[in-house]
Amino acid sequence: MATVDLKDAKKVYSSGVEAVKGVSIAIPDKELCVLVGPSGCGKSTLLRMIAGLETISSGTVAIDGKIVNAVGPAERDIAMVFQNYALYPHMKVYDNMAYGLRNRGTPKDEIDSRVRSTAKVLELSALLDRRPRELSGGQRQRVAMGRAIVRNPKVFLFDEPLSNLDAKLRGQMRVEIKNLQRTLGVTSIYVTHDQLEAMTLADILVVMNAGLVEQIGAPLDIYEAPASTFVASFIGAPPMNLLALTGGLSGPTLADGTAIGFAPADTKAATLGFRPEDADVTFNAKAPSGALVLPATVEAVEPVGAESFLHCAAGGVRIVMRVAGRAAARPGDQLRVVARAEKLHWFDKTGKRVG
């Protein structure tokens, strides 16, 4: 049971690539922290620095308050689930799970009981005598999990553990991982670039971009108040609609010249945004005051069952709207998008949230 603290951790690869440019995160005991961000932003690098698989160029990593920069991976008492599972191909499932315990000199009976009970939890009991190549992708994934769990480490690390599974299985495993993590109460760090996974799993969500942390917080807090246009467009599916503002004589206008009709929440505001579900679609000419009203032309309709997505041209850009059920609109329809002022997000020139 442990806390994990990163202080201004940096990683410069010998090739000169600065993969992590100074990251500070504090993860309390028993919490699940998800690192999310686009490909190449340095998530895996950061995770591997915590694991001890990469050296730390500067800054510190502390586990349970103890700085572990100079501690080897074996001594950090951390378990990791790799994206490709990294199961030992020449060992049976049982031995794959028992290997870490054996290396630590755990007594034989204890190994056996721990492996078997872990296998039971993960429904692997029938597979213990098989080799990895005789397992399905989902089974391999569970073995990888089992190998991490059986050791009962201080910290779990997961590097995109579900990305090789199909969508349905991914959904199941997501829930399972969450439950396991809760019941085991082990501090965990989970890397993904899937924002849905990130939202559903995280106690603490860390959004990374280009080697830097964009925002840290509870998933819904981040969803509701993204700290930057980057976070706004990365968290949420479909992403937040963002419209650039230009200063006109009678107040700010959109790219196509439409005046927004009221003052932004902040004078530095250069972009406004609203979530697809935070605006109403109406054919009505009338609109409430203090709301953003955009004439829009439907370009495409994507029904996904419980809801539909309308892709529209509005304010000189493309926006997406989420409507419940079957959409009445057809491509080519003219309509209005109405977003109430309190649902609007404002960002300055650099993309930072304002107001």
């Binding site: 001890g52 080897g72 991976p73 074996a74 990791m80 790799f82 990294a86 030992y88 870490g100 290396n103």
Partner: protein, 294 residues
């Protein structure tokens, strides 16, 4: 109708197989058959005629102490040089694999010895190991008479083993390094996180995973030590002193080509061939079981 389809497939199959079979026949079975025939006769070297002698050639070879000495020498040579060449290469490759910087350089440098023809290599080693002029002269100055491959059979054997192993260290190294590098990095990392140190990791993960390569190299090294040793022996010791390095392949050459005893040489080459076949079967039967194919 269906019958005809199968039949024509058969014909096509055979048609495709024919060139292969012709090749195998002309380059293996025909010469092998020739060798068997020669081994059962006494051949006049100029082809003037021959006499059927049954198994007499084999009898006289197997009754010869020199031949048994040659077999012993060959087996010792095979075991020691294969062992050396593989262990050294394995250690080098393991070290290189850990410290990958410059591995491309090692690769080039270490493949060279294999590219060098055996006689050229042997010439170089003859110079290096010459007791009076080369590197060993220094040792001999300190301990006079310590190194004397000219009269001491063990020293001569050590010389050819050194040359042969040196050649195959490079060859083995390339395969070992490739095998190590084919092991996914994450496996090594996983075992590191599982608390395995360098030695354990090597023993439990890397070694089992390169067993197919080890097995392949074992078969190749042993087979080659029976065959490719010829040039080295020829240049370095000519089978001496007092037959101490008269390996089977060299004895075949000297009896057959120098001594023009084609029949005796044919019988010897059949015994050598059978020995290699038996060794190879043994390796496949008993060692391959312990190989883990991924």
């Amino acid at each position: 109708m269906e019958k005809r389809v199968t039949f024509s497939r058969w014909t096509v199959g055979i048609l495709f197989a024919v060139p292969q079979m012709l090749l195998i026949f002309t380059f293996f079975y025909w010469p092998a058959g020739q060798a068997v025939y020669w081994s059962l006769t006494l051949q006049q070297p100029w082809g003037g005629g021959n006499i059927w002698v049954g198994l007499d050639n084999f009898r006289s070879i197997l009754a010869s102490a020199d031949y048994w000495n040659s077999i012993t020498a060959s087996l010792a040579f095979a075991a020691i040089s294969t062992g050396l060449a593989m262990v050294i290469a394995l250690v080098l490759a393991a070290l290189t694999d850990r410290q990958l910087a410059g591995s491309r350089f090692y690769r080039v440098v270490l493949i060279w010895p294999y590219g060098i023809a055996a006689p050229a290599l042997a010439l170089a080693f003859r110079f290096i190991l010459a007791p009076e002029a080369g590197f060993m002269a220094v040792v001999n100055r300190a301990w006079p008479g310590f190194w004397d491959p000219g009269l001491d059979g063990a020293d001569a054997m050590a010389s050819i083993i050194a040359a042969f192993s040196w050649k195959y260290v490079g060859y083995n190294f390339i395969f070992f390094l490739a095998a190590f590098q084919a092991i996914p990095r994450s496996l090594i990392e996983a075992s590191a996180m599982d608390g395995a140190g360098v030695v354990r990791r090597f023993r439990d993960i890397q070694f089992p995973l390169i067993t197919p390569t080890i097995f392949f190299l074992l078969v190749i090294n042993i087979t080659e030590s029976f065959q490719d040793s010829f040039g080295i022996v020829d240049i370095m010791t000519s089978g001496g002193p007092a037959n101490a390095t008269n390996l089977m392949v060299y004895k075949i050459y000297s009896d057959g080509f120098k001594g023009l005893d084609y029949s005796g040489a044919a019988a010897q080459s059949i015994i050598l061939m059978m020995l290699i076949v038996v060794l190879t079967i043994f390796q496949f039967r008993f060692i391959e079981r312990r190989v883990h194919y991924r």
